[in-house]
Subunit: 319 residues, 6 copies
């Protein structure tokens, strides 16, 4: 049986070597990356059976995405789009330190996923799973994608599968107001909300500290659990009026992309394993910290490594 | 003064290392490539002043294209598209020897050029040039692009600039019937037609050998000059009932993409220089042959190298 | 249900860039390669469900092998060896043209697979499959491996699964006499024998042409089908006294390693699909030919590409 | 019209990968780099029309330099040296962190530029420009180069073009005493002096803090403006007895080479734009800071990025 | 005459690019590395004549090791193992920052060196040398290697060659108890002991600070000199009751592997040069610090660079 | 004792990837290459003790050359030039197939070797050797180099060391007339002349076939042995009126640079081994053929491989 099912877009990520600019790029490193498959991979590496639902063109580029994801041990349950004009979304990632900053250029309009309907996806997998996860990126992709997201969340809840949702606000996809409206369409079907505090402030117009925000969200939208992430300031989770907190584990950052997804993957894996909130946060934080040391979107870690971080063992050269 | 102005789309060309398949690609070599800029670069390397007209997003990826082209010495006169959703066309190139064959996957739908109108392009450059060139790819990109192509060809002729047009049929862009209709819209404004014999057969439904085809085209559409290219079998040109012929110069092929464009660039450069038809064909063939030894879309050659091929000097190690 | 199950060793293949020698190598390209997984991948790419059985250390290097193989769409059913001293076999591949020749240096002694017993492998998969395949490399690895090979072949036959075996003689693993003895232990459990003519001559001491060899083998050992491969001279298959023949499809060779395995994979895929002998040989030959154009051990092809070769369509640039 | 004209040597910069030493280098990254073209590129990226004057061999290596520079959008106005023995200067750059330090090995003796005379350079461009810039490297290259530098500075002033000069002392080119003498030859023709404080101390034997140094230089040599740069301690500018100061913007340094040139380019671009001294320093500092995050000699930045640093916006991942 | 002779295993070191994990590695950088050859190279770069003794297969991979080491200027005096099954040890190095840590995976079982006997090694070189060095890795490789280590240390002492030994405890080779027993077999033949404080604590069960440990070791085992290294806390040396101390020189670490060996190489080179203990420590620390800035196992430094660190000169860009 | 001593310049060879042009090169592969060290390496690989004499700057770039050469097993006996302005010659190698051809751009003027005098070289090694070898490149470098070449050849002959000399005419270094005069200065001191037939025709103005040329040279200049090489047409040797001939061994050429030097190295190694003329030619031809399959200037071969070619064994994959 599958533990976790996720749904969302995975793109080809094209990045020039460090120190190079897109305007001059001579070569790109190629990887598959997307929030929901990132979450599935992280959870899979921690021992969950995971399935990722999506739609891709039936082409060498579409298979480029699934073959990489399957090498990570997740099940890629993809609706293959046979229209010749169907495309894979791509994104260009330019690394940069301060003050330049890392830059992401999307070229994802009209990707196959924007046409994905619930009918063409294997929704049985959702009904059988422990957790169904998607993020705020998916409904932002197209009206069809938003409709499908809602249908799948509803379908999950109706079948007793816990639903988890990360706001994952993307400026380049929609405005704060559009996002807020989109989120509110989905909140009735969400059990576990993961809310980056900056997204909450930008889109939902909530002030107050993380605890106040969590309480407000939980009471307003009746979530079972609310997780608020605060970047370097750590995370907290609220359930039944009880709050658990977790700091970040320091990391030598090699590639920050996917940190949040690694957190969610670690959190959900431990939740599926029946751990308490505090423990789920710790595994999320440890997975996120390890992710930062690894190139690419996904957290190529082992459960043993995550546990070593949680129990705070050293990082000397192991020989 | 500019000698040659061209108009068309230039894409980012992404190619995995030789022997690798797109389905597994881990890295892409990045280059700018497009028929009309390829022609401009080849002619420029042979000594012409050339300007390439196009439309690109005002982004790092758009500037990626122009900065490379300007490094080749051509003038990139680009209408910058400021819409955030504007995109650069891309194409994926997978090298392959027999029996697999080289494969091209386009991802060019809705590129900025599909919205290019004559009004936003610097058409004065065309009026002042000796030759205006575009190819059958451009009108296939969108209705707007087809309209603009026609307007520019008309504008050139009206101002005494010779017009040159290569059929450049692309299966993945339109059907033979659509192409034929598209071509016929433009033929009245074309002085020099470059016609790959296979495109003629596929789209224009003409049989007969190259001379018959050239005569038929010249008489039907009243072209000043018709050049028929026949792959390994060489080329011929017809003007005023007179035929010139040219074989191919043998090459150790490293990268065949852009061979036809190199031919046209060499041909037009020599035409601008006032050479006779036979000489134009020879320079075209020599430029094309050298191109095949060089990676990328464009013919990075010198006039001296082309002349050495035309006069058939050896290729021993030069030291 | 699984169509084809294979059993054997897969190694890490380390190869310096072309033109470089092992004695000076500064970098290695890394791939997973092994005869029986190569066969599984080729068959999988042609549409079969395939499972590969093996034993690997429970380590990052062991997972390096399975994650690559699973990215190719096959099921890696591996007995994980938890002994700290367990190792993955490696082989060093130095490309070289004539007169130097390509050279392979093995470092595979004491790899995990040498301790694999039938008990620790998921033999149910064999019983349920259409075809079980292994090659003469496996019994050469250790006495335990030889014993396990025999047990699995026997188990397959006993459960009505057709068995296929490729002699795959390796000078560096055993002597011709040892190989002959090893083969003869297994022949009673083999239905389909794939016999490279040079292996037959070296180890089994048979002269005569390919037809004579096939007949002799079939009558001596009572094989259902004998396939004799003859390198550039093509292949033939004998069944019930009837002979089918197939020439090779010409290829621009990029990497010859794995050609034979691609042939077997194509042959078996078509056999599972119920094709006649001639057709099986044709698919084998086409898969092998395509393999030669691709870097690495495995035939990263599509069924459509194989069929295009079988029906002999051209290999011009496809755009 | 051109805003800024610069004159100086640009070399091929050859650098092994980080962590590698020149004594073992197996591969070099190749870039074009030189103080005066670096300044031109930075200013160009901030919106100026810039022209760089130099002399190079008429060879593939000479064109290697100009084609890269033209891809950066500057005009390369080069006197082509047709002597077969003419050479491009090269420099080898070995990256190294503390305590090893980055090391530069020059191989620039007898480069084409050492023979450049004012007569063979397009001096009209200078007369028409707003600013003419060169640095203390140029007169150190040869007697002829020193003479030409003086002639061009004089020519600029005589035609109402503001002259700017950076001491840019290079130990490997001349002694402090030689440099001091060389500088003093040129100071009468300099309006804006850029003076790294360490160069002032080493060559001009001035003590005191930056303000004292600036005042001393301004009064002694009658400069219109003196800019003193102090590495991590920021910069100050003196004009008409008024002092402006600017700290550095912190940067994650990827490649420190060219930081000073980026500062000058940003400073001059803003000066041409009519900004006040304080603003010029801020743009210089911001351009310099961004440069440090980018590989290669030149500041591949946009005006928008520089302004974001000046107004101190964050550097989170932009998506 | 040779100054320093060392004896030990040198392996092929295979490392994926930074940020990549072994489980996904696509390419390996290849280098030769081993404690005792690392020491020899460091000492050689500081001006010593050094010879390294070992045993390797007589194959391209064996020569891969010696050709690299000889390029570093040391003499590789190798017993060539002609058994076809003879192998070179390999180790896989995965870089990782905190909290993941750098990881080393050994594949060194049954390497040629495990069969090396004193008889097949050129022991005359030892008798003629100033210093003979080996480390605790060597006796851990096999019983034969342990026996040979003892014989060579004894042989050195008997011929008036000073012996130096670094504990170099490796968890993956033997247990603390086994190591302690192994060390105690050799201590009678050791003059200079280099003892990482953590190895002392793990294996020899000694508490107390470094001075106490040094005194205890010196008095218990009658060493002439004891050097205790304490990672970031520096080192101290004890001789004749006198203690010298040395802090570490700060470094921007690029590759920490081989730091300890560089320390020993610098220490021994200076000892051979007749310097006092404090000076030996300083050269050791400086060599170690420089090593950290360089990729690979060995300290590719010059004596001049080491002296610049010892005398604490800056690390600005040198040009 | 040394078998063969050679004298000449070795440069850094910088080559962009195949298919790339120098005008756009982004990276260079770096190798050490020079005719006389190439010969020494080839002979060394066939079992000779060889020493190469030269002069290089005492710098990281100078050591770059010697460390590579010493990794090939030859002894680099170099006069270290301590002048700061001393330089290593470089050459740029651009690969190209027909009709473009491979191109070499030299940047070797004023390299350290141009100042090498016999006094600063270890001439004792010459007196003790079997053979002293240099080529026509060396006297073309400078008057000093020409004088030193003559002195060393004379010194060799005077001490009973056989002298060998390859014309190795280089258009880019001197004119045919200058070369002829230079050669004639040296011929009195040459025992074995290696004469590429095209060099003979270009510089020495001799017609006739290879046998006639050999006879003419032998009788005119009183050489002990004359070897005439004819590219693809093979070679012949004349001694005492007796002629031996040898065809070329076919090769898949990967890198043709150094083919002639490999021939000479193989020829001389076998001559030192006391073989007859025919056998020397065969080893030369086999070494040359193998060289063509290997990247770089030098013949990284083994004696076993050369013998396999001489005895004409196949080149199938060896496993």
């Amino acid at each position: 049986m599958t533990d976790i099912v996720t749904f969302g877009e995975t793109m080809l990520r094209l990045s020039p070597p460090r120190g190079d600019r897109l305007e001059r790029a001579r070569e790109f490193d190629v990887q598959a990356g997307g929030a929901e498959s990132n979450v599935a991979v992280a959870a899979s590496n921690l021992g969950c059976e995971t399935t990722w639902l999506s739609k891709l063109p039936d082409s060498s580029l579409g298979r480029r995405v699934t073959s990489e994801l399957e090498s990570y041990g997740i099940d890629a349950a993809v609706a293959w789009d046979e229209r010749p004009e169907s495309r894979v979304g791509t994104y260009y990632l330019e690394y940069g330190g301060s003050p330049r900053g890392t830059n992401v250029v999307y070229d994802r309009a009209d990707a196959a996923i924007t046409t994905a309907t619930a009918e063409e996806l294997p929704t049985d997998a959702i009904a059988d799973a422990e957790v169904f996860y998607t993020s705020g990126i998916t409904p932002a992709l197209s009206e069809t994608a938003a409709e499908t997201t809602k249908t799948l969340l509803h379908h999950a809840q109706a079948n007793g599968t816990e639903t988890a949702f990360d706001l994952n606000y993307r400026t380049k996809l929609w405005s704060p107001a559009e996002a807020a409206a989109g989120y509110r369409e989905l909140f009735p079907y969400v059990d576990v909300l993961v809310a980056p505090i900056s997204d909450v402030r930008t889109c939902l117009d909530l002030d107050g500290d993380a605890v106040e925000v969590a309480n407000h969200l939980a009471s307003t939208y009746d979530f079972d659990t609310v997780v608020v992430t605060r970047g370097d300031s750590g995370s907290l989770a609220l359930h039944d009026g009880e709050v658990a907190e977790q700091g970040v584990f320091e990391a030598d950052t090699f590639d920050a992309i996917g940190t949040g997804d690694a957190f969610v993957g670690g959190f959900l894996a431990q939740r599926v394993a029946g751990a308490d909130l505090k423990d789920c946060l710790a595994y999320g934080a440890a997975t996120a910290s390890l992710k930062r040391t690894i190139g690419g979107d996904v957290a190529l870690v082992t459960r043993e490594e995550v546990e070593r971080v949680v129990t705070d063992e050293g990082d000397a050269i192991s020989r």
